[in-house]
Symmetry: C2
Subunit: 162 residues, 2 copies
């Protein structure tokens, strides 16, 4: 993995671990601006956050949505020069948010615990890269095993894991 | 329009007007529980809100997302017995949120000012009803005319209107 994606995914992963330590769903994300090249030297982390379903009792603050909130209101063309990093394959809502803001590139930590809107993203011309990160995968699997009731309600029933 | 849909759309419309009075984007929504029949006598408005892009400087609190937040965390099966009312055709993010929570029915005030994810909803078996409400249509058109810069940035560039 190149330096930019290493930074982006590590930033998202740190948020996932923070959420896990708080007893929350361990999914993190980061929105990284890089301009028209994928060069780390131009990169800015515009926002990063984690799923806040448990922490804020929120049905919509998934990692990617919370990250867009963390980044705040940006000019439309800024999004078009960013990559969204997320530790887990994005659900249909987060997929839609990525399409809404025309974010051209998504790097996914893992899609073993859940496969989301990757196909729809690709159909709309978004570049999708699955890193196959074992740390992301193991943390999510551990959470589902430790809190099966949360896994069942939050992940399975709401389409959030296979 | 039957009584249930009249109530739901009127509730969403009141929120759109509130947002307009606050100088915000005049889009409102309501999540109404009705059980397995579409009978008004069983109905409960679980949540209702409006777009809060201007008011809360939020990139993700569209009317439907704010409405899901207003309703709070619900059991997964509650969503499957609800209708989402929204004054304007839902964008890709809100479309994805409706699919995430498996809300089976969406009633749209108008789709003249913007056509969102109606096709995707239908492909996933969601019932989509467009009310063709002239009040919704006129309020949104007035806003776009009065605040073309907001219309341009928030609506057009982020895929929010044709
Ligand atoms: Ca942050
Ligand atoms: Ca409300
Ligand atoms: Zn999501
Ligand atoms: Zn929306």
């Amino acid at each position: 993995m190149d330096d930019l994606d290493k930074l982006g995914l590590a930033t998202a992963s740190a948020k996932a671990r923070k959420s896990y330590r708080e007893g929350g769903i361990p999914i993190g994300a980061a929105l990284v601006y890089h301009g028209s090249s994928l060069d780390l030297s131009n990169a800015v982390v515009l926002g990063c956050s984690h799923n806040q379903r448990i922490q804020k009792s929120s049905p919509t603050l998934h990692a990617e949505i919370a990250t867009l909130e963390d980044a705040g209101r940006l000019k439309a063309d800024v999004y078009t020069k960013c990559t969204m990093y997320t530790t887990l394959s994005p659900c249909s809502m987060c997929t839609g948010a990525i399409l809404l803001y025309k974010i051209p590139r998504v790097v996914i930590g893992e899609n073993k615990n859940f496969v989301g809107g990757e196909k729809l993203l690709k159909e709309h011309g978004v570049e999708v890269k699955v890193a196959g990160d074992t740390e992301c995968e193991e943390l999510m699997a551990r959470f589902i095993k430790e809190k099966p009731e949360v896994g069942k309600v939050h992940l399975y029933s709401t389409n959030y894991a296979r």
